[in-house]
Amino acid sequence: MKKTTAMMALLLTIYAAVFFYGCTNKSSYSNSDDAYINYATDMQLMYHIGGNAPMTKSDKGYYYIGEDGIVIFIDKETKKATPLCSKPNCTHDDPEACDAYLNLTQKPDTLVGAHDSAIQYNDGYLYALCGEYDKSYINYNTYLMRMKPDGSQRENLTGSFNFYAFEWFIHRGYFYCSTDSSVIRIPLDSPKSEPQILYKTDYYIKSSLRAVSQICAYKNYFYFTADERNEKEEGPGLSIKCINLDTLEINDIPKAKGYQVFYNFFLDNTMIASYYDKNSDENVYLKCDLDGNVKESFFTIAHKDNLRYSTDGKYIYGDNCVQVTRKDAEKQIITVYDLNMNEIDSYVPPEFENIVCNYINPQDNEYFIFESVDDNGERILAMADKSQLGSIGGETIKFTELCKLKWAEKKDSNYYVEGQARVE
């Protein structure tokens, strides 16, 4: 009897612990709107993997950072946008005075894609990689900045790095980034500690993005493309690698039929990867486990019709941007599929200066946020409700204008000074 009572008491305690754990703030983040990822603590795949959207999502809305360094907050409830500055007497056009301005780290022009994930929300804070020249304009110092969701209480979390950080994100309590030759991480609860090197290659070009790129994380796995070659083209070359974050073991993603497999997106504990079959001139899509081992074939598509695929966990999106760039297609069309690749709709994204729309990442399963232009030709931020998917029928997606995109002139006097310093 005593044993039964004790067991009952223990079970009640465990139940209560589990139940009340659900009442803490943290649980309000977990899987609140989809089971795809936990957007509050994990790397936000839907804003990063498909492209270079400088966006992030919090529990209250979205943050977008423009080229001018002004952070714009988009409220999910009101569907309105404002610079992240709580001063009614600020016109947000002066980076020196506006609280919404972030001094984002400047990357050389050659490093296309290095601005990925320019801002990220994680566990109640916003993070960004900021940087500035020293007083002599010789050394450039980069550091991880953290602030509250309302833009207040900014702090230099890590101190200046003694390496150049290219791509970065926050995932499950760690800051991950790629340098020219390595993948490193720093725990957020000890941000000034020595970075932990997860991967390092000897075949690389100093200060070049090539050796480590396309970093992303899903669940407890970290993926990246390693192009191990030095200036003399020596080295093992291209491979796709995966780090198991539990064991820190590094493995190459296995090849399929002798072809290098590339990861495209993740879905329900599965990696959707693909390779190009030279013989049949087709792109073959596969379902793999998270270590990259092929489980089954997903679908196959002729190489010329291949799209850029991504998912928000609810739909799969195919973007014909490559065809538009190659001038094989006249306009950009996004085809929407269900998770079994049955086409359910297609739409045209808002016009963006007559070029391919920049940001057609899947984003979350509620809204799309685009860059577009208004009737006066001014660049704007626009928002489209995903509830219309299924009824668009190839037309332009209906969207609402949020706010102008360019608020201030970017503060980049550092480059000016550097240019002036040398008298030719």
Binding site: P88, I138, G151
Partner: protein
């Protein structure tokens, strides 16, 4: 009342005080005029204030402002063509009236440029005036919109309260209509900050003279013997400090305003202050004149409250060195918070509740700002008033209590004394005590020079172990550095062969890329892959090699001019060694601070302990002692110099080697204007020599001041005013560096002038100190 009169008399009968006030006043005015002339817009307006005001009047009268600016700009354009005998017939036909006006303008190129600058200024003002009404009237709707966002809508948050408070505060200026006019005098006078820094020095000086000097003379013993003497004395002293601070502050600020008014003209001071864009965020409904009065009173009030707090510190801390250290640490802390903390930082309150923030520019009344104090938005004016009252109350009450209750004798460092006496047990005195040993003991122990040296040793250790390795900004830069591992140094056959082989390699690569593009026998994918590989090599190594070739071309040209053998310098590394203007400033400012701290007490200590009478009694002893004292401080200066500069140099050599040291500096494109054949190593030595000479000159000057003032604290403050304040003023002006002298090919003149000035200071110091006087040494203070 009689005590107050006596205190005034004591202060104003002090020649040093009067000389300092006059010298600082002149320096302040000189800086003001210099800074004004360095701004091209200010220069343009001051060159012809009448024309500027005439343009403003015409603009105010014009119905169509755009047409006015268009016609005026065209007029200037035509005048420029006529001036250079160009063909302006087209304009003559199209704009006959404007042509006649332009032909009537008797202006040269500079004057015409000034006119266009004036027009731009007026146009910017008009744009501000046009948008001001909308800015104010939309304040409430902006606030409502902002508070509708969930992130700002937390009722207990600073953001929400700030959004609610701001429109209420700005409601006062809702009806304000800015008027176009001449704002320059108000803008120039209120933006000028040097006066405030100088006044801080004067506040310290007044306090030293009122408290520290008397304590060191031992006069407080007399005061303590009277029944109510202490409280009355401190009250009178505080009154004198307060009134002198207020009068001197008013004098300095009023003088700046008058100077600005004379240079630029006051314009109509009855216009709202918001007429100037500088005051867009001013939430006070005041005219320009009222703002000027408020601005002067605000600054004066702040300085008065600071003077009260400083008085308290001087009364409560009895050691001059300790007071100097505490004040210096507090000022450095405040200055660092002001400069380095971002307005949105978690530490933003430290930036705003800060002496330097409040004393700078128009931060109190001219720029609306709420400070986050426990999530409450407190307006900066309230913060300022609260802080001023708090500092004054703490200062007055603290000084009064401390003065009446505490002994005003110098305290001693019990721990250090005990330590030294314990150490002394192990030291045996053999024969007579050598003068140097005694002086060194006094200098390093009593004057805390040892503390400074120990701190420098620690800094030197950090500097030696600092990571100097380069974080390359681009792959091209790192590829350039890789090339330089092979190519740096004099160019010999081997290096030329290497360059030729690389050139051939890249030519071959380019040819291969062209052939590949035209090749239809390989698949598109393979073609793309191979072309991408070639592009990758060309865009990184190729670009770096192009840079090397450009440098080679430059070097060959330079070699012909200088007659030196051509050589390549690694510019990426060289820049870190030669172009680091902030490090140059930082090291030299630190060296000066150490020199001031260590040297100020060298003679003052003898006067303080009245030992000077013993020295004077000795026929040859005085000169010898003075030489030994000078030697002591010079040794400290040299040690400090070595500890500051050497660790960095050793670290640099450890990291990058000495490959570039024997190469001509002019071969670096950063020094393209340099015509001398000086090597990088020679440049380092020249820089080292100049800095050492300047440090020795500074030591001689401080030594002289110590001899003249006979008081450690006065010497510290005056030397800081003469040596450190200019350093702070020029912190951001990288042109005022030795690097700039070399990069502008003015090194001979600059080194010559610096050497001459230093030698002059040393000679004058030697003359004043060592040449025997007829009169016996007397106390000036």
């Amino acid at each position: 009342m009689r005590i107050v009169g006596s205190e005034y008399l004591k202060l104003f009968s002090n020649k040093i005080f009067l000389i300092c006030i006059i010298a600082f006043f002149c320096a302040d005015s000189l800086f003001f005029v210099m800074l004004q002339s360095s701004d091209y817009e200010n220069s343009a307006i001051s060159s012809d204030v009448g024309a500027y005001e005439q343009l403003i009047r015409e603009c105010n009268d014009a119905e169509d402002k755009n047409a006015f600016f268009e016609s005026k700009n065209t007029e200037i354009q035509i005048a420029q063509i006529i001036l250079h005998n160009g063909n302006a017939d087209e304009y003559k036909k199209k704009y006959p009236k404007l042509y006649d006006n332009a032909a009537g303008l008797d202006l040269n190129d500079d004057e015409l440029f000034n006119r266009s600058v004036m027009l731009s200024n007026i146009q910017a003002q008009l744009s501000h005036i046009d948008s001001y009404e909308e800015f104010i009237s939309n304040m409430k709707s902006r606030a409502e919109q902002q508070s509708s966002f969930s992130i700002f809508a937390e009722p207990d948050s600073f953001s929400f309260r700030n959004i609610e408070k701001t429109p209420v505060d700005f409601a006062e200026v809702k009806g304000v209509k800015p008027v176009l006019g001449n704002n320059k005098a108000v803008e120039a006078a209120t933006s000028y900050e040097v006066s405030s820094y100088i006044l801080l020095i004067i506040v310290l000086l007044v306090n030293i003279l009122m408290f520290s000097v008397e304590r060191e003379k031992g006069l407080y013993i007399l005061v303590r013997s009277t029944a109510k003497g202490r409280l009355s004395t401190i009250a009178c002293k505080l009154l004198v400090v307060l009134s002198v601070t207020a009068v001197v502050s008013l004098l300095f600020y009023a003088s700046n305003i008058m100077t600005a008014g004379t240079v630029y003209g006051f314009g109509d001071l009855s216009r709202p202050v918001q007429s100037s864009k500088l005051f867009l965020n001013c939430a006070l409904n005041v005219t320009m004149l009222e703002y000027l009065i408020l601005w002067v009173l605000g600054k004066t009030l702040l300085l008065c409250s600071l003077s009260m707090l400083t008085a308290f510190l001087f009364v409560v801390i009895k050691s001059s060195a300790k007071t100097y250290l505490i004040l210096a640490a507090a000022l450095i802390f405040e200055f660092s918070c002001f400069i380095f903390i971002d307005g949105s930082s978690v530490l933003a309150s430290l930036k705003f509740i800060n002496i330097f923030y409040l004393i700078s520019g128009n931060n109190i009344f001219g720029c609306y700002q709420n400070v986050n104090i426990f999530s409450q938005p407190i307006n900066i004016i309230t913060v300022f008033i609260g802080l001023a009252i708090a500092l004054s109350v703490v200062g007055v009450l603290g000084a009064a209590l401390a003065f009446s209750r505490l002994s005003q004798h110098n305290g001693k460092l019990v721990l250090l004394d005990r330590l030294m006496s314990r150490l002394g047990r192990f030291k045996k005195i053999n024969g007579s005590v050598r003068i140097y040993s005694g002086e060194a003991y006094k200098h390093y122990k009593t004057s805390f020079a040892l503390v400074a040296v120990i701190i420098l040793v620690a800094l030197g250790f950090v500097s030696y172990n600092d990571d100097l390795s380069i974080i390359f900004r681009s792959p091209q830069e790192s590829a350039y550095d890789t090339y330089m591992q092979t190519l740096e140094g004099e160019l010999d056959e081997e290096k030329y062969d290497f360059i030729e082989s690389e050139r051939a390699y890249f030519d071959e690569l380019t040819r291969e890329a062209e052939e590949l593009s035209a090749d239809n026998t390989i698949s598109a994918e393979e073609k793309t892959n191979r072309l991408n590989t070639i592009d990758g090599i060309l865009s990184i190594r190729g670009m770096a090699f192009e840079d090397i070739c450009a440098q080679l071309e430059y070097v060959n040209g330079k070699a012909e001019l200088t007659g030196e053998k051509p050589a390549l310098v690694n510019e990426v590394v060289n820049k870190r060694l030669t172009m680091d203007t902030f490090r140059e400033w930082e090291y030299f400012a630190l060296l000066l601070a150490v020199v001031i701290f260590c040297t100020s007490n060298i003679l003052a200590i003898e006067y303080k302990t009245s030992m000077v009478n013993l020295i004077s009694a000795n026929k040859h002893g005085k000169a010898r002692l003075l030489i030994i004292k000078l030697l002591t401080v010079l040794i400290t200066t040299v040690i400090s110099y070595i500890l500051i500069y050497l660790p960095y140099m050793l670290n640099f050599i450890k990291t990058f080697g000495t490959a570039s040291f024997d190469l001509p500096l002019a071969y670096s494109r950063d020094f393209s204007a340099l015509t001398s054949g000086i090597t990088v190593g020679g440049y380092i030595l020249a820089l080292g020599f100049v800095h050492l000479l300047a440090a020795v000159g500074a030591t001689a000057l401080v030594y002289l001041l110590s001899y003249i003032f006979k008081n450690q604290f006065v010497t510290m403050i005056i030397s800081s005013g003469l040596l450190l304040i200019p350093c702070v003023v020029f912190i951001d002006n990288s042109k005022i560096r030795m690097v700039s002298a070399f990069s502008n090919n003015a090194q001979t003149a600059v080194i010559g002038i610096i050497t001459a000035v230093c030698l002059l200071i040393i000679a004058v110091s030697a003359l004043i100190i060592f040449v025997p006087k007829r009169k016996s040494t007397k106390f000036i203070i």
